[in-house]
Amino acid sequence: MEIIRTISMVKDYDLGKVKVRALHGIDVSIDSGEFVAIMGPSGSGKSTLMHIIGCLDSPSAGEYYLESDLVSKLPKRTLAGIRNRKIGFVFQSFNLLPHLSILKNVELPLMYSGISARKRKAKALDILDGVGLSDRLKHKPNELSGGQRQRVAIARAIVNDPSILLADEPTGNLDSQAGGDILEIFSNLHKAGNTVIMVTHDPAVASRADRIIKIKDGLVDNGDLA
């Protein structure tokens, strides 16, 4: 089943006097349950594509359908709800909140879902147990190793049972050992039925995916259309 479809999607950035076109008309389609790697050199527009897929940004032209909803037609408050329930983000630099404990970091998406404190804690504990961090609950992110932090970030991304897991260079800040562990987690999540979309420039990392979408100069390079 198709979960994501973009049609001639364009993104322009207005930098005052000049307009920069980051996406030149992207057509991609991703099915539910796929593990897709988006590859491309720096500046190719892959992060922009991911931000739009994650509803953090909106296209300047073209169409983006998420679960057959035309996203550009949705009101902003609905987008917040989509980010909260349907999308899980994993970033290169982890992006954990430094003043919150591991547990509170993982609870964060559930808080914005309006779930009660007791249920949040139970759910977060369960997920943290799954990534092997149940002995670090009260720690602050800076008390953990990079690999552990990324596992916390993954726990946060999946705690609300999203339909899509979006990872932007998730192993970029990790050594190969920790990076391998993280990729193993993504593989397992994929096997469990999750849709995983991973942005990377590392072919070794991309090889873990079912399919690679290459982006170059704001266009899909391998013409891999469904």
Partner: protein
């Protein structure tokens, strides 16, 4: 799907706790501003309480006094005195008054008892004097209508007069000589005392001068001492403050009539004095409240700047929150609540400190300082209000951040 207020409060509170030093510096301005408001309001209410208790002790707020108009140029003719016929006429014209008492001052009175002398003013009065001055008799009785009609040589002594003249012996029924005329002591007034709770603005008893007076029937004073047999003052007591103001106007008219348009008398009412004092207090309090408000505004601007800087620093956090599903409104509320919490906390601290220093300030100013619930409410509302006003701009800024840009921020 919005996060609840208690959730926002929780986030705000833990934000404050993780940045303790910054929060402490942030709220300093508010703490001082609120403290200032507390002290000013306490001074004002203390002043009002002092004024009211003075008024009460000197005859109450229903009192109207007629006396010499010191602003009048007596070279234009006229005398600030009334004869008994005129006094009676005035009484007939104001039947609605609760009491009226004319007085005749014998300023050069000297009392003597077996060689001991006492210099102090003696007043010729009527029985209504007691009502007019709100003054009880301590022992014996006061001058009555019979004394007045018979022109009896009877005298009522102030407590200090009695003490000094009789040196511990019982003055009741004894004879004293007033400027050579023999009078029998029929009563002693209760001692008038008016002290401030916290020491006194004046040293000692502010009403001691009243205890140094003695009183005889006005008819006797006219016949035996008043060279021109004239009354030099009248006190009138109304039934209520509103009537007092009306009576004051009426008396002015009556006196102008009697004195053929010459304003030789001044008619003042406690009510009018009090309104004047309230007016003064209002101006005074406006000035101080304005100063306090300015200090709070400065505190608010400081807070706004710190919040703006804090949002700049926390841009990435905001980006992350948006990425995991926070709405712009959630972010807006988070920062607004945090600012309000900071100022509210500052308000509470200011109130606590304000109450703590009230005693000190009270002792220094030698007046009672009173903290009441409405002051505390005012201080609290003002501090929360400052947070709302100065929290809006930073909160809007935070809520409008572009998440993509925010996430890129280092």
């Amino acid at each position: 799907m919005a996060i609840s207020l208690s959730e926002s409060l929780h986030i705000g509170f833990s934000d404050i706790m993780t940045r303790k030093v910054r929060s402490a510096v942030t709220i300093l301005g508010i703490v001082l501003g609120v403290m200032c408001i507390m002290v000013v309001l306490a001074i004002l209410s203390g002043m009002n309480a002092t004024t009211l208790s003075w008024m009460e002790e000197s005859g109450g707020i229903n009192k109207i006094e007629v006396g010499r108009n010191w602003d009048y140029d007596f070279s234009k003719g006229g005398y600030a005195s009334l004869d008994m016929y005129e006094v009676n006429r005035i009484r007939e014209l104001i039947p609605e008054a609760k009491a009226m008492n004319p007085t005749l001052h014998i300023w050069d009175a000297q009392l003597s008892n077996k060689g001991t002398t006492y210099d102090g003013p003696c007043l010729g009065v009527m029985p209504d004097f007691q009502i007019a001055e709100n003054w009880q008799i301590g022992r014996g009785r006061f001058i009555n209508l019979l004394d007045l009609r018979e022109s009896s040589n009877v005298i009522v002594l102030g407590s200090s007069v009695a003490r000094d003249l009789f040196a511990g012996k019982d003055p009741m029924g004894q004879n004293v000589s007033l400027n050579g005329v023999v009078f029998q002591v029929i009563g002693i007034m209760e001692e008038k005392v008016w002290m401030n709770e916290a020491g006194s603005m004046w040293s000692g008893n502010a009403m001691e001068y009243l205890n140094q007076r003695s009183f005889i029937p006005i008819s006797v004073a006219m016949n035996k001492f008043g060279g021109d047999k004239k009354v030099d003052g009248i006190q009138v007591i109304a039934h209520n403050p509103t009537q007092a103001l009306a009576l004051q106007q009426k008396l002015k008219g009556i006196l102008l009539n009697i004195k053929r348009g010459k304003e030789v008398f001044r008619v003042s009412s406690a009510q009018e004095d009090m309104m004047q004092m309230e007016q003064n207090a209002k101006i005074f309090s406006m000035i101080f409240v304005m100063i306090s408000v300015i200090s709070l505004l400065v505190g608010g601007i400081v807070i706004m700047n710190i919040m703006l800087a804090s949002i700049k620093e926390r841009t990435r956090e905001i980006g992350v929150r948006i990425a995991v599903g926070a709405r712009r409104f959630d972010i807006f509320i988070q920062f607004l609540v945090q600012t309000v919490l900071v100022t509210g906390l500052g308000g509470v601290l200011g109130i606590v400190l304000g109450c703590a220093i009230l005693d000190l300030v009270g002792k220094y100013l030698k007046m009672p300082m009173v903290a009441n619930p409405s002051m505390i409410m005012t201080a609290l509302l003002v501090s929360v209000g400052v947070g709302l006003v100065f929290g809006i701009a930073p909160a809007i800024k935070a809520g409008n951040l572009d998440p993509v840009v925010a996430l890129r921020e280092e």
